[in-house]
Symmetry: C2
Subunit: 252 residues, 2 copies
DNA sequence: ACCTGAACACCGTTCAAGT
DNA sequence: ACCTGAACACCGTTCAAGT
């Protein structure tokens, strides 16, 4: 007969103490955060969600992180590490190809983690990987012989072009994907008015809908990148730092 | 003596029926939304806040708008109208100056309404002002003689450069503003490690902290824009659409 | 040191019911 | 047609209390 009503019936009915390896870590929290963001975007991410995924209460996350924004900062720097790894895996033959690889690698990372775009435009971005990435970019430009005062402006130009382009690419991709699912009812009126009021835009949109989305995105991305790199090449060859007039180019 | 206990005591104690002009409109809702976003950012915006500001319940907004995202779409297009007004106020003398004005006007608008950056990277952006703006940009490039298939890519390049640059500018401005308030404790360690691990980045950051923030932001913005426009000029003059090699420039 | 459980002050959205 | 009031299912964050 039982000793008392609330004495334990058996060890097996009483859950084992949580083992050491089930404990939390910043890495484990950030890792799970990235996975949730990849799978469900910012809408799917909540402190409670991360916590329950890790078998823990929401409040316990605040032992490792003081705010949700901090968690996003950590997640951002984590995926920037992927770009850094790409860069270190392949040595850059010249400044132009070096910047192009940085741009392409960043774009690929952003398409793998579409949520970083909104993070990049709202976070301080001072993590170790972000700093290392900036240093690597500056090194490429510095070795190429760019003027000291143009180093950061040139790197920023490339980075800003990439983030802006990929941001537009992502929204374009999601819009076309959703529009294709429930065509043509909702967008029909818009297209009709478009031909009447904005003929050039209508023509361009018609030309873009037929072709392969991936190919079109690639084309626009490399077009903008090439334009920008050409402009930077002019500044390197002419040596007219700060002047807006175009000097004589000397190739790459 | 009173007729009954729940009969009205006096007209003056009974609130007048709400007048017609206190009723809601999409314009009034969007207008108040923009004001709140300007003053307090995305964090300060909630359906309840907009509603109470307009003297109304939160639920009533859903008669005019089916979701909060829709409200943000409307707010985005509203401020894009400011750029359109700028463009129409001053005629563009040439394609290069036309694009430059578009870029500068867009940047000024974004600095007035910093919240649009996160909107632009997360919203479909198919409003009437957005469409009119795109058509105007395409018209400028088309008249300049750009190849038909390059029209949208070239316009997108400029727009993406602007949004990327202003996004970086805004976060840079807010970080430096907050950092200056509680200097040097928190950022001291970061700067110390910076000199050791990332010398070039440390040198560039040191060069940027002394100078006027506005002037530095202007410099970087025009640097990137000039580079991009130079690259576009090459494509216009050489007629080598799609080729990445640099042709001979012929000025603006 | 690390985590729980419960609470606080919010959210967006829905929907019967009123006028 | 337009708005209220109340509810539903969530949020981020805090903090005593446990171990």
């Amino acid at each position: 007969m039982p000793a008392s009503d609330d004495a334990p019936l058996s060890v097996w009915l009483r859950p084992e103490k949580p083992p050491r390896d089930r404990r939390l870590t910043r890495d484990r929290i950030v890792g799970r955060t990235v996975e949730i963001l990849d799978a469900e975007g910012h809408r799917g991410l909540s402190m409670r969600r991360v916590a329950t995924d890790l078998g823990v209460t929401a409040g316990s996350l605040y032992w490792y992180v003081t705010t949700k924004d901090e968690l996003l900062e950590l997640a951002l720097d984590a995926v920037l590490g992927e770009v850094l790894a790409d860069l270190r895996a392949a040595p850059a033959p010249g400044w132009r190809e070096g910047l192009a690889r940085l741009a392409r690698s960043t774009r690929a990372m952003m398409l793998r983690h579409p949520w970083v775009v909104s993070d990049l435009t709202a976070q301080p971005n001072l993590g170790p990987n972000a700093l290392a990435l900036a240093e690597a970019g500056l090194a490429v430009l510095s070795r190429a012989g760019f003027a000291e005062r143009d180093l950061d402006a040139a790197l920023a130009a490339v980075n800003d072009q990439v983030t802006g382009a990929v941001a537009a690419e992502i929204t374009w991709r999601t819009v076309t994907a959703r529009a294709a699912a429930r065509w043509p009812g909702e967008a029909g009126d818009l297209l009709a008015g478009l031909h009447r009021d904005h003929p050039r835009l209508a023509r361009r949109m018609a030309a873009a809908t037929g072709v392969d989305v991936d190919a079109e995105c690639d084309r626009r991305f490399t077009f903008a990148l090439d334009c920008l790199l050409d402009g930077l090449a002019l500044r390197l060859a002419g040596g007219n730092g700060g002047d807006t007039t175009v000097g004589a180019p000397r190739g790459t």
